[in-house]
């Protein structure tokens, strides 16, 4: 069936182009289009040019197989190239197994260093590291307060020396403090600085030389434009960082600067940071960013996030119920709780290709979930198990008990009925297994 279609498609293509394989001229149109996509994603002009030259060589060398269209083939080559350029494989932080691990964060003003410091501290504490945050931004007003408040929120101590402007000493002393207090990980949050500010660049390079961090991370705003190559290069020349952190990816920037930076300094991207909540930090996956730069959403992240957060036993139970079509309100409640664990609805929607645009003008309100929860919680156990019991009187009671209108209750009951119907359909078509194929969707 599929083969049929592609062969038809190829015949059509042959008709249009007069030939069955990629030529310099018909590929140049596609490449120009993709070049534009890259530039619009903020990939640096020169980087994009080199990259396209590379792709061209590969694309011209390859034959178009009958099973793929030329468009698919080129997209695949580009996707692979992008993925390769941005790191090939993901890389972990280098942690000192026996002694103290020191992590130094550097970057321009406003790129999100302090927030990331909080996130990294939280994430490492969860991995049973004993973390100390060092406030080495003595310039921006209240930067130290900001870090202290973040540290307080996540129960991580914050080291500062009141009144001191000597950031090298602060950094050095913080490591001694960590050692004395049985803390094995120190995250040093430095001031934002401009890469052409000689004094400030000297300062950060002195910190680096003095504390000899295990890991120096260059934090960069994913919305950065063409100049990313210059700042990254300057920081790289002065502090020779080990990895890149890409922040604010919860927005709609395409993050092309990551490719630019990767191309000029060839250091791995280690983390992406999305959102202001302190747990919205992720290990970097080049393939996902590649699809994002090409405007293809981040479906793989979503699938994995779902896998992580969903309790596998509970999911299994739920699946069984799906299959038996016995999905009751208790299960509905469980499902809502799992969705809530994954993060806000909005961050979930943002990862699904197309959905973000489709839902743009619709209110996505996490409060709706709270409402649904309250309604279900106002039901008796018997009602949750058997929705058919829910007559007018019971509905009225539930509305009153949960502080919602009767219409809200009716709507929920109707939704539940529709969900059951949908599940029935999905079961009969074997739709559940299609989740496993989502990765492929990203490429088509």
């Amino acid at each position: 069936m599929l083969e049929d279609l592609t062969q038809k498609f190829e015949r059509a293509l042959k008709k249009v182009t007069g030939q069955g394989k990629l030529t310099e001229s018909n590929i140049s149109d596609t490449l120009r289009e993709i070049r534009r996509v890259l530039l619009d994603a903020d990939v640096n002009y020169k980087v994009a040019k080199d990259f396209m030259d590379d792709v061209k060589v590969k694309a011209l060398g390859q034959e178009v197989l009958t099973s793929v269209s030329p468009g698919q083939l080129i997209t695949k080559i580009i996707y692979d190239e992008l993925t390769e350029l941005m790191g090939g494989q993901q890389r972990e932080l280098s942690i000192n197994p026996s002694g103290t691990t020191v992590i130094l964060l550097v970057g321009l003003q406003g790129c999100g260093k302090t927030t990331f410091a909080g996130k990294l501290a939280k994430s490492l504490s969860q991995k049973k590291r004993n973390v100390l945050l060092t406030a080495a931004d003595v310039y921006r007003p209240a930067a130290i307060d900001q870090l202290k408040q973040l540290g307080n929120n996540i129960n991580v101590p914050v080291f500062t020396i009141d009144g001191s402007k000597d950031v090298v000493k602060i950094s050095q002393d913080s490591i001694a403090y960590a050692k004395a207090n049985n803390l094995n990980t120190v995250i040093i949050d430095t001031a934002g600085r401009l890469h052409i500010d000689e004094d400030m660049m000297d300062e950060v390079s002195r910190i680096k030389q003095t504390v000899k961090p295990n890991e120096t991370l260059f934090v960069v705003d994913s919305m950065t434009g063409q100049d990313a190559v210059n700042s990254a290069k300057a920081f790289h020349d002065r502090v020779d960082f080990d990895g890149i952190v890409l922040t604010k990816l919860d927005g709609d920037s395409r993050g092309g600067c990551a490719l630019s930076i990767k191309a000029v300094v060839s250091k791995p991207i280690k983390y992406v940071s999305m959102g202001e909540k302190l747990d919205s930090i992720e290990v970097f996956h080049p393939d996902r960013l590649a699809s994002r730069i090409l405007g293809k959403g981040d479906i793989v992240s979503l699938v994995e996030k779902a896998q992580e957060q969903f309790d596998s036993k509970e999911t299994e139970d739920l699946e069984k119920k799906f299959l038996a079509n016995k999905f009751d309100f208790d299960d509905f409640l469980k499902q809502i709780k799992m969705i809530k664990k994954m993060g806000s609805l909005k961050s979930i929607i943002a990862m699904v290709p197309g959905l973000n645009k489709a839902m743009k003008n619709q209110e996505v309100d996490d409060k709706q979930l709270v409402k649904v929860e309250s309604i279900i919680q106002s039901m008796t156990i018997a009602e949750r198990k058997n929705p058919k019991l829910l007559n007018g009187g019971r509905r009225k009671r539930i509305a009153k008990g949960s502080g919602n209108s009767i219409q809200d209750v009716n709507r929920l009951i109707k939704q539940h009925g529709e969900m059951k119907k949908m599940m029935k359909m999905m079961n009969s078509k074997g739709g559940m297994s299609s989740l496993g194929n989502l990765r492929n969707i990203g490429l088509n």
Binding site: D40, D42, Q109, K148, L194, M223, Q226, R254
Partner: protein
């Protein structure tokens, strides 16, 4: 607007000097040994425009316009071509010549003159307010700041330091409290002290977060309850390092607030801030100020002619 006497062109120029030298060197390189402009040189100029974050589409149309003009001219020298490019770029910026915004007269008319400051996270809103407040104070205005960023840790403390430096009043709310209530309290305080200018700082928000964007509309509604002409201005603060996303930011923020001006920050680096051309082109939002450093007087009135001159300094 003659409010500020501190337009420091030299500072802007030196701030942009790295930018400018690179820009001009590249252009000179492009034309070395080539007397007549050909397709290669056009491509090269395009690369320079795009590298300034002007964007592929606008860069192409600028080049197209210049190319068409060039055909009508006898002079095909590099100087002339650059002049044409600069002229076209200037035309984009002049789209907002009749800006909807604050002349000194406007400020006299409305009291208090209320300015809302919005933008994405890390753009430089708080620092910019510190500088603005100081400038207006120095110009003899009675200024009050409302710190309505009740979300980010220590945002209040940061703005309080700036208010102290500028020597102006500040109203701040508790962390986690409703930003609208802070804005409301600020407006009431402004009336009480008979303030000339009110700045409302807001939390950084990504334009993709619908509820946060609605929060902005709410702040506007609430301040209107106290002063019905408010806000007189809503300035969008844009990081000078940002790329194509800045246009999306401007578009989205405009949907929730009538953005009357842009403030482009961090232009003392090597970023060229070329995305302002696209914002001017599509949304006709004028650039009001540019930030060229972290000092309290490192905020300049935006003067498009001077901006272009600074970019193209060596080309008459």
């Amino acid at each position: 607007m003659a409010l500020f006497s501190n337009i420091n062109f030299e500072k802007l120029r030196s701030g942009l000097s790295k930018t400018r030298n690179k820009f001009i060197n590249n252009l000179n390189e492009a034309f070395t040994g080539i007397e007549l402009v050909n397709e290669d040189t056009l491509d090269e100029v395009e690369s320079i425009l795009i590298s300034s974050d002007i964007g592929s589409e606008l860069s192409e149309s600028i080049l197209d316009m210049a190319r068409i003009k060039l055909k009508e001219e006898k002079d095909l020298s590099k100087d002339n071509f650059l002049k044409l490019i600069k002229h076209e770029l200037g035309k984009v910026l002049t789209k907002n010549a009749d800006s909807r915004s604050n002349s000194a007269d406007e400020m006299e008319k409305y009291k208090p003159y209320v300015i809302l400051i919005v933008g994405v996270n890390g753009a430089g809103k708080t620092t910019t307010i510190g500088k603005l407040a100081s400038n207006f104070k120095n110009a003899g205005k009675k200024v009050i700041i409302g710190s309505a960023d009740t979300f980010r840790a220590a945002a209040n403390e940061q703005l309080e330091v700036w208010a102290g430096r500028a020597g102006v009043e500040i109203i701040s709310g508790k962390m986690g409290s409703d930003p609208s209530s802070v804005a409301f309290a600020t407006m009431e305080a402004a009336n009480k002290m008979n303030a000339d200018v009110v700045f409302i700082d807001t939390a950084g928000r990504l334009h993709t977060k619908n509820d946060l964007m609605h929060e902005l509309s709410k702040i506007e509604r609430v301040i209107k309850k106290v002063v019905d002409h408010a806000p007189n201005e809503a300035y969008l603060v844009v990081d000078g390092n940002s790329g194509q996303n800045a246009l999306t930011q401007a578009r989205e923020f405009s949907k929730f607030s009538q953005i009357t001006g842009l403030i482009v920050t961090k232009l003392d680096g090597t970023a060229k801030g070329g995305m302002i051309f696209q914002i001017c082109n599509e949304l006709q939002i004028p650039v009001k100020y540019i930030g060229v450093g972290e000092g309290i007087d490192d905020l300049q009135d935006f003067d498009k002619q001077k901006y272009l001159d600074a970019l193209f300094n060596e080309v008459a």
